[in-house]
Symmetry: C2
Subunit: 219 residues, 2 copies
């Protein structure tokens, strides 16, 4: 470890975290060796311990890296002054975009974090459940503002959003040709309007149009 504030050290450590993310994402925590990680960043196995006290510490850093600004962004969305629909869509966009940018680290966070020691896991958990709580709050606001049916269970709703996003996150990681924008629209549409045909049953024809084509513009 360097004794002074140091630039190269920070940069190399970041590289180490990214390498670990890639390897863990591919082979899982226990399936990866420190040799794999070191080789991917072009150093020898032993040298990795200059940057991490242990393999476990590397996992912790990867998870943190995966989730950090993901939660920050969610804070921004929750605090912003937009109607419910916009917040929901922004959430989905943020979630899925994160998958594109940080797919490995996020996958590691989702799949491997349980192998962390208790203490670290709790720290991360508070971040993660902070995320879900923010989302839940957004739904509660949506109910209060009248945008959503008041019969909905906000906890369930938040979980459902995360579930759908994660399912598509996996698809996105595997197939880079999937159109992110298309998925975002469809997710939002599903969550707001459901799949059911309404013409015959319900009288509010307006909703059909809104449902059919959410009118979204790029900036």
């Amino acid at each position: 470890m360097p004794e002074t504030e140091n630039n190269k050290y920070q940069h190399q450590r970041q590289q180490a975290i990214r390498s670990a993310a890639a390897v863990f994402a591919e082979k899982g925590f226990h399936g990866s060796s420190t040799k794999d990680i070191a080789e991917r960043m072009g150093i020898k196995q032993g040298s990795l311990y200059y940057y991490f006290k242990s393999k476990e510490e590397a996992l912790g850093e990867v998870c943190l890296f995966g989730i950090t600004d993901y939660v920050d962004r969610m804070n921004g969305i929750a605090a912003s002054d937009q109607p419910f629909e916009a917040k929901l869509m922004a959430t989905i966009t943020s979630h899925l975009s994160s998958y594109r940018e940080k797919n490995e680290a996020l996958k590691v966070y989702n799949d491997e974090r349980l192998y962390l020691p208790e203490a670290k896991r709790i720290t991360l958990k508070s971040l993660g459940s902070g995320y879900r709580q923010l989302l839940e709050m957004i739904f509660e606001e949506g109910v209060q503002s009248g945008a959503l049916r008041d019969s909905i269970d906000c906890h369930f709703a938040a979980q459902a959003v995360i579930g759908i996003c994660n399912a598509w996150g996996d698809v996105i990681v595997r197939d880079p040709d999937v159109d992110l924008f298309d998925i975002i629209q469809k997710c939002t549409d599903l969550l707001l309007n459901g799949f059911r045909e309404r013409r015959k049953i319900q009288r509010t024809d307006d909703d059909i149009d809104v449902a059919g084509n959410l009118n979204y513009q790029k900036n």
Copy 2:
């Protein structure tokens, strides 16, 4: 291996698969040792190789066990003569009930199957994607029968159902007090009707507004 048709052998092998499922689910494939598995079924590490050629074979059997009658049931639902809503609810029920009964093996199938050798993975994949295709077909029928909006993307829809079910599957596994029936109802309701309030007429302007506040970039 026994040379004749044998009862005890089959029974013990089944026990071995269940033990492996439990251990793999808890610690992941690479995190589990054959000693863990053997101990859980009350035999010694070496004896396990009487039932499996390798640890990998055990994983394959667990995955197969997890998914098998799950797919069978889906076949039944798809072939049955029910309206769309009933089929959807039956699917969700089947999916979530499977999580209750076979939570470990299903979790292993979802999380660890990629560690199988190519050949086995392909066999399983054809089963798994058979499942998704059946679900897709059900949605297509739903569109044709007029139960669903004809703008929906059936591939997307099937993926979304699976995503939601898996998210709740995890919750169900962790917390046995969750009311399965309640979740089933809420999932079905969400998928059919969405969360949006319908009495009030939604202004399309809201949806346009969304655009300004998103930082999505199309590449």
